[in-house]
Symmetry: C2
């Protein structure tokens, strides 16, 4: 019966922009493992193809999967080639996860780059989806960065579903504009839109990046690898975090929820655990001892502290909760998930 | 001394897009009459030139003023001609009032038209201002249409300064995106930005237009001219209105307020008088008797009623109040202003 109902929806072609990035790769692996996807409340359809669009090539395990296609290049340039043999949005595209973006630091340093990568690319992608005339599902990865302390307009103590975004970075503005475009393309019936605001992800595997939030992964990841790490903010600074697994769960939930269950077209805040670097270090010590926490240098950096304190630290994600999306209960769970998933990256003995 | 301080700021060149429209013309006349303008808190500067940009030519009195220049054409096309002998944004432009827009009905019927006229034109205008490298003041005429009853997300009983906009029309989305662009161009120091949300204007002189709100002027204007008019909603339907004079006052206040007095870069809701068609008719009767109100046909139109009931009817405009911008105290004042300003259009005897 399940097989039949999947077939009645046809095999499903999924496009992931930013598909070679950290979240794109994890999302693709999760989807391939589950093998099927319910599109906006429809019965599950088998996943026939996943197209990963990115500047870089994805990891070998994804390249080796017969269901995976790869489209390598600049997203704007790929979308401009409307008569390409392999377009970004092929005629059978059922769903697009739009994760590709220039990150906040880049957008602040190079305004035109951000407008091109985050704004023009999103508009061109939506136009390509509209041209299909099949109303594909578009899951747009927005960001907690739509919220920022504005001069004369401080953030409330907790972010609610209807808190007014006041972005204080070009990245945040571009993400918020993307939400508006997705909302109106959905209202007009050009797409089925899902605006999802991602939280700061921790613990992110790999190497440090240029983001101001990089330390929120590094202060756990580096000590576990036996490497020194810096925490540039005070131990009692509140921060809102989500694990990689919960973040991908949120993206898939957005794809699968019916229009009715999803609710308003405004951005949905994913849940986040409110913690502090002090509590994070304590959780690290519980699993890896003082050998790990001795590797953390508590070296204040006023520039990073200044940025971090403008981020909302408490998210009251009632809409997400109604969809069954909950934050982790403790940072201990997040550390243990990281260790379980990245055994090769852990050099210290674990209790 | 005043002359000297005006000169120390240099003579001021003002650009008004939509400058031949109802509000653009009134704004230009008001500015020419006052002869000077304080730019964002600076000492008053004399108005040397006002450039009116519009598809249509402005009225003869403006054409005859030596300080007025006219640029006629499609705003997008004019902005695309970057090497034009007379560019939209000349090098000495100190301030732009960006009023030009396709109206809500047009944008809903023709999505691409709205994206071009309201979205692409605003972006191109901001880029032209940025290219000056002189940080001109940009007053962006946004709209109450950024607010709309969303499925599963009803409007609050009164709109506050920090109420989350949930636009339910392409026009509202495009205006809200314009606000975001103006906010970020201002934050980056490319312009001095002022996002002003205009209310429904009544009593608008002239002839009925295609807007769903047209009756809110017509039910006063037409009876005063001895002509029958229709009110398509129930007499007790709450509506939020502002007079033409208060609307232009709001635009000029936005131009003159210092960054500090203006406050956040998010849109500022202008004040509005909450009234009802029943109260409006009573005000009309007080000045023009039952001869006027007998010309109103109370003929319900479910389509218009359906649109009007999604509009916010109560605006708690605290920020505007702090700048000295207040709503009219009664609709009687608005009717009397219309009669005073448009004597040629009043055929019935006035008490």
């Amino acid at each position: 019966m399940l097989m039949q109902s999947a077939q009645s929806n046809g095999p499903c072609h999924i496009v992931i922009t930013g598909g070679a990035g950290f979240l794109g790769v994890r999302l693709a692996r999760t989807l391939l493992a589950q093998g099927q996807l319910s599109l906006a409340g429809a019965p599950p359809a088998s996943i026939a193809r996943i197209t990963l669009v990115d500047r870089a090539a994805p990891p070998a395990d994804l390249m080796a999967d017969a269901r995976v296609s790869v489209l390598t290049g600049d997203l704007n340039e790929l979308l401009e080639k409307k008569d390409a043999v392999v377009p970004v949005i092929a005629g059978d595209t059922a769903i697009v996860f739009h994760l590709a973006a220039a990150v906040s630091g880049e957008c602040e340093a190079d305004f035109d780059l951000g407008m091109r990568s985050n704004f023009a690319a999103t508009l061109a992608l939506l136009e390509a989806c509209r041209a299909l005339k099949t109303r594909p599902v578009v899951v747009f990865a927005s960001s907690l960065a739509v919220f920022g302390d504005a001069p004369g307009q401080a953030l409330p103590s907790a972010i609610e579903d209807n808190t007014l975004p006041t972005p204080q970075s070009s990245y945040g503005i571009q993400k918020f504009i993307g939400e508006q475009l997705v909302a109106d393309y959905a209202r007009k019936g050009f797409i089925q839109g899902r605006n999802v605001r991602l939280m700061t992800v921790s613990v992110r595997p790999g190497t440090p990046n240029g983001a101001a939030s990089s330390f929120l992964s590094g202060m756990i990841r580096e000590p576990l690898a036996g490497v020194r790490a810096v925490c540039p903010v005070a131990p009692d600074t509140p921060v809102a975090l989500s694990s990689p697994a919960r973040t991908v769960q949120g993206l898939i939930c957005a794809a699968e929820a019916s229009d009715q269950a999803w609710g308003p077209r405004t951005g949905l805040n994913l849940p986040a655990l409110t913690t502090t670097p002090g509590e994070m270090a304590a959780a690290l010590e519980r699993v890896a001892g003082t050998a790990a926490t001795a590797l953390i240098d508590w070296t204040p950096d006023p520039a990073i502290r200044g940025i971090v304190k403008t981020w909302p630290a408490r998210i009251h994600a009632a809409r997400a909760c109604g969809l069954g999306l909950l934050p982790e209960e403790s940072f201990d769970d997040i550390v243990q998930e990281y260790i379980r998933e990245n055994p090769y990256a852990v050099k210290l003995p674990i209790r």
